[in-house]
C-alpha cells in the first residue's frame, strides 16, 4: 500500500493475505480519483441534484431558549434516503464505477446503509447485494423490502450473533473471492485501510458546509460540535472541519444502552484496544479477546467496534466521547420533536441527548449538533416503548 492508514498507532490493515491486493487496488483508485476533476464534478453533481446537498444549518430557536444555549442543527436528515450515509455511498459507488466494478456488496445493521447502497446501485445501475444479520432481517422487515424495491438482493446471515458484525464478516468473506469484479462498499469510517480514510473523505462535505455556514451566521466558530458515534462516519465528517481549531470542543455521543454496567455500545467509553474487522481500535471484548455483543436502542450505534480515527482523537484528548443511554436518547428525540417539529433518528437522538447534558453545564455557548438522520424509521420502536398501539 502507498499509505499505512495509521492514526497514531490505530488503524492499519489487519486482513487475510487474500484481501491485500484488493485493498491495494482500492487505495490506488481512491488516491487517484479523489484528485480527478471529472470524478469530483460528477460526485458534486449527484450530491446536489440527487442527494439534495447542501443541507441547511438550522438555528433551533425554541430549543435554544429551552436549553439556554444557541443550538444549530446540521440537517443531514433532509438528504435523500434520510441520513448522511448517502454522501459515502455516492462517493464509493462512483469510485466503483470508475474502477469498472460490476457488482456492489455492503453490510447493514438496521438497513440504513443498505438502503443508501441499494439506491446508488439503482442510480448507477450496478447490481447490489446487501449482507444483513438474520436477526436484523427479522426486526427490520420494512427496510429489507425497501432495499428489494430498489433492486438490491438482501442476504440474511445466520452466523454468530446474526447481527451487524456477522454481516460484516460475511461481506468480507464474499469479497475474498469476488474482489476482481466486486466493490465492497463499507458504510462507516471503520474496517481496514483505506476505508477509514476514504469514508471520512466522502463525509467531509458535512464539515465543510457547516463551517462555512456557521461563520456566515455567527461570524465565529462554535464552542462545541456534537455528533453520535457508532462506527463514526457522521462524526468524523463534521469534526474534520474543526479538528485544527483547538478552541472548538468536539464531542462524540456513544450508544450508552442500558448503562455502562449493563448492555451498551459505548466502545471508546468502556471498551479496550483490539483488532476487529481489519483495524486496531477500541472494541468491546471479554478478558480473552472474544468480541462481545453491543447493545443500543439505535441499531446504528449497536456495534462492538469504532473507527480507528476516533480511538486516536480520544487518545490525544482532541475529542471527548461520552455514553448517552437509551433513556437519554429518547428524551433527546422527544425534545427535538416537541420543540422543533423535527423527528431525529434514534442514532442522532443520542447527539441531541448529549447536547442537553452539555447545555446544562455550559449556558450561553454556541453548539452545532450533527443531525445525521431522520426518525421516520424509528417510530415503530418508539411507539412500542411508549406502549402506543399503531
Amino acid at each position: 500500500m502507498i499509505l499505512d492508514g495509521k492514526f497514531g498507532k490505530y488503524g492499519g490493515a489487519f486482513v487475510p493475505e487474500l484481501l491485500i491486493p484488493a485493498l491495494e487496488e482500492l487505495e490506488k483508485a481512491f488516491l487517484k480519483y479523489r484528485e480527478d476533476k471529472k470524478f469530483n464534478e460528477e460526485l458534486e453533481y449527484y450530491l446536489r441534484e440527487f442527494a439534495g446537498r447542501p443541507t441547511p444549518l438550522y438555528h433551533a430557536e425554541n430549543l435554544s431558549e429551552k436549553l439556554g444555549c444557541k443550538i444549530y442543527f446540521k440537517r443531514e436528515d433532509l438528504l435523500h434516503t434520510g441520513a448522511h450515509k448517502i454522501n459515502n455511498t455516492l462517493g464509493q459507488g462512483l469510485l466503483a464505477k470508475y474502477m469498472g466494478k460490476l457488482r456492489l456488496i455492503a453490510e447493514t445493521g438496521a438497513g440504513q446503509h443498505g438502503i443508501a447502497t441499494a439506491v446508488i446501485g439503482s442510480l448507477l445501475q450496478i447490481p447490489t447485494e446487501v449482507y444483513m444479520g438474520s436477526e436484523d432481517v427479522e426486526r427490520q422487515k420494512l427496510n429489507v423490502f425497501r432495499m428489494e424495491l430498489s433492486g438490491a438482493k438482501v442476504i440474511p446471515v445466520s452466523n454468530g450473533s446474526r447481527t451487524l458484525k456477522d454481516a460484516i464478516n460475511d461481506a468480507f468473506r464474499d469479497w475474498v473471492s469476488s474482489a476482481d469484479t466486486t466493490h465492497y462498499l463499507i458504510g462507516s469510517t471503520m474496517g481496514p485501510h483505506p476505508y477509514p480514510t476514504m469514508v471520512k473523505h466522502f463525509q467531509k462535505v458535512i464539515g465543510r458546509e457547516t463551517r462555512e455556514d456557521i461563520l456566515k451566521k455567527e461570524g465565529k466558530l462554535p464552542d462545541a460540535v456534537i455528533a453520535c458515534v457508532g462506527g463514526g462516519s457522521n462524526a468524523l465528517g463534521i469534526f474534520s472541519a474543526f479538528v485544527d481549531d483547538e478552541e472548538v470542543e468536539l464531542i462524540g455521543a456513544e450508544g450508552g444502552g442500558e448503562g455502562l454496567k449493563a448492555k451498551h455500545g459505548a466502545t471508546i467509553s468502556a471498551g479496550t484496544e483490539g483488532v476487529l474487522h481489519g483495524s486496531l481500535s477500541f472494541v468491546l471484548q471479554d478478558d480473552h479477546g472474544q468480541i462481545a455483543e453491543a447493545h443500543s436502542i439505535s441499531a446504528g450505534l449497536d456495534y462492538p467496534g469504532v473507527g480507528p480515527e476516533h480511538a486516536f482523537l480520544s487518545s490525544e484528548g482532541r475529542a471527548k466521547y461520552y455514553p448517552v443511554t437509551n433513556e437519554e436518547a429518547i428524551r433527546g428525540f422527544k425534545l427535538l420533536s416537541q420543540y422543533e417539529g423535527i423527528l431525529p433518528a434514534l442514532e442522532s437522538s443520542h447527539a441531541v441527548g448529549m447536547a442537553e447534558k452539555y447545555a446544562k453545564e455550559n449556558k450561553g455557548k454556541t453548539i452545532v449538533v450533527n443531525l445525521s438522520g431522520r426518525g421516520d424509521k424509528d417510530v415503530d420502536i418508539l411507539a412500542k416503548l411508549m406502549e402506543v398501539k399503531l
Binding site: F14, I20, A22, V176, H277
Partner: protein
Amino acid sequence: MRIETYEDAFNRVKARNEGAFIPFTVAGDPDFETSLKIVKIFVENGADALEIGFPFSDPVADGPTVQLANTRALDAGMTVEKGFQFIKKVREFTDIPVGVLTYYNLIYKMGIDEFYEKAKLNGANAILAADLPPEEANDALHSAKRYGVQQIFMAAQSTSNQRLDEILKLCSGFLYVVAVMGITGARNELKDSTIELIERIKCHSKIPVAVGFGISKQDHVSNVINAGADGAIVASAILNIITENLHNKEEMLQKIGKFCRELKGVTKVIR
C-alpha cells in the same frame, strides 16, 4: 522431550519420498478432552505435523465449518490460556511440529510478547494469525524472534511474485499456501489454478510449502503433493466429521482415524 522442528519434519518425510500430512482442528472442539483425543488420533494415524486453532468469535477468513467449530469450542469454555494448556497436553504424547492458527486480536489482547512466550513454554513451534499480513507483523516478528517461535505467513493466487519474495523474507517454518481465492471449507474439486500456484511458489520458496483451504479428499492431497507441495493441510473435511458425529464420540474418533490414514496413504510422491 525434544521438539521436532519443521525443517526436521519435512526432511524426515521427504527422505521417504512423501509429502507431509498436516491435519487441523480447533482446540477445545467439541470439548477439551475430546479435542485432545482427536489430536491423539491424528498423531496415531499418520500426521506429520499439527495445526491447532485457537477459536475466535469473528473468524473472517473461515467458512461456516470452521466458524461452527470455533463456536462449539468457545461455548465449551475455550480460552487462549486453555489453548496453551492444550498444547502442553499434546506435547505429552508427540514431538512433531505444532503450529497455532488463530486471529490477531487474541494475541494482541493477551499481550504480544506474553503470547509468544507462552507459545514457546508450552511447546508450540509456530504461530499463524490469519488476519496479520507482513505489513502489520513487526511486533509479532520481534516477539517470535525473541522466544524462538516461527512466524508463518500466507500466500495466495493474488500474491504477486514481488510480494511473495517479501513474504518469504519474513516467513519461517513453512509457507502456508492458500489453495483457493476464498475462505476455508471442504470443496469437491481441486482447481488447475491451485496446481499452477504451487508450481509458481515452489520456484520462489526456499522453505517448505504447505497447501490448505479446500483440501478435503485423497486426490486433492495426492495432487498438491505431486505438484510439488511439501505438505497438505486438511481442516474442514475433518471438522465436518466432528460436526456429523457429535452424538457418538467413539464413532467420531474412529472415522477421523480412518480418514487420516486414507489421506496419509496418498502422500507418496509418484512423479
